[in-house]
Amino acid sequence: MNILYGMLFIIALGSVYVLGYYFNHKTPKPKGCENMTAACEGCHVTSCDNNPQNEYKEKENV
């Protein structure tokens, strides 16, 4: 029964995350903040939005 509770709890949390991610990306950035980038030259964390590698990927997709 505990495993079932655990699974349900994680599914619920995951759903909240998906909703948050969806609404966050749907919310437009304020004026003047469209092209903001952090002063970061990049590390090995390629999942981070500020990593310069992601900029290249976005350009390629366009």
């Binding site: 655990g6 709890f9 994680i10 966050n24 919310t27």
Partner: protein
Amino acid sequence: MMELFALALSAVLINNVVLSKFLGLCPFLGVSKSSKNAIGMGLAVIFVIFGASLITYALYHLVLVPAEIEYMQLITFILVIATFVQFIEMFIKKYSPALYKSLGIYLPLITTNCVVLYVAQDNITQNYDLIETIVNSIAVPAGFMLVLYLFSCLRERLDSADTPKAWKGNPIALVVAALMALAFSAFAGIV
């Protein structure tokens, strides 16, 4: 009261999360090129760690323990932190453009900052009560911000220093970080 003060002092200076535990090194090296960025990142980290720690503390004691699923705490905390950052970013985008302008770009970096998860886990493993959790959740990121700001000031001065070509950039920054860690280790006996 003295215990809380000792806890805060220990978290900021003695057991500094960057220089003593070597956590959060990605933003420590990535966002320390200017002191302005360091302050922005530091404030965002304090805000996120404080909020995420309170939520994870409440979830652990009100949901995980009663349901006897404490073994799920790691994945729960990761999801809570990621979700919290998404909602905070959305809220700031919508209601406070000025705050988004100063902190917004650091929020995605914080999701991958292991200090957030460390504080959430530490509050549980050390069996802190609510007051101790609040103090720890402010003191640890305050220590992170202090070190990040000091390091950024040093790096700004290093840019104009006459360093050999092979030492420019990250090599000399890492040497400076090591010297800072040595200097902070001198605080070990004060509490």
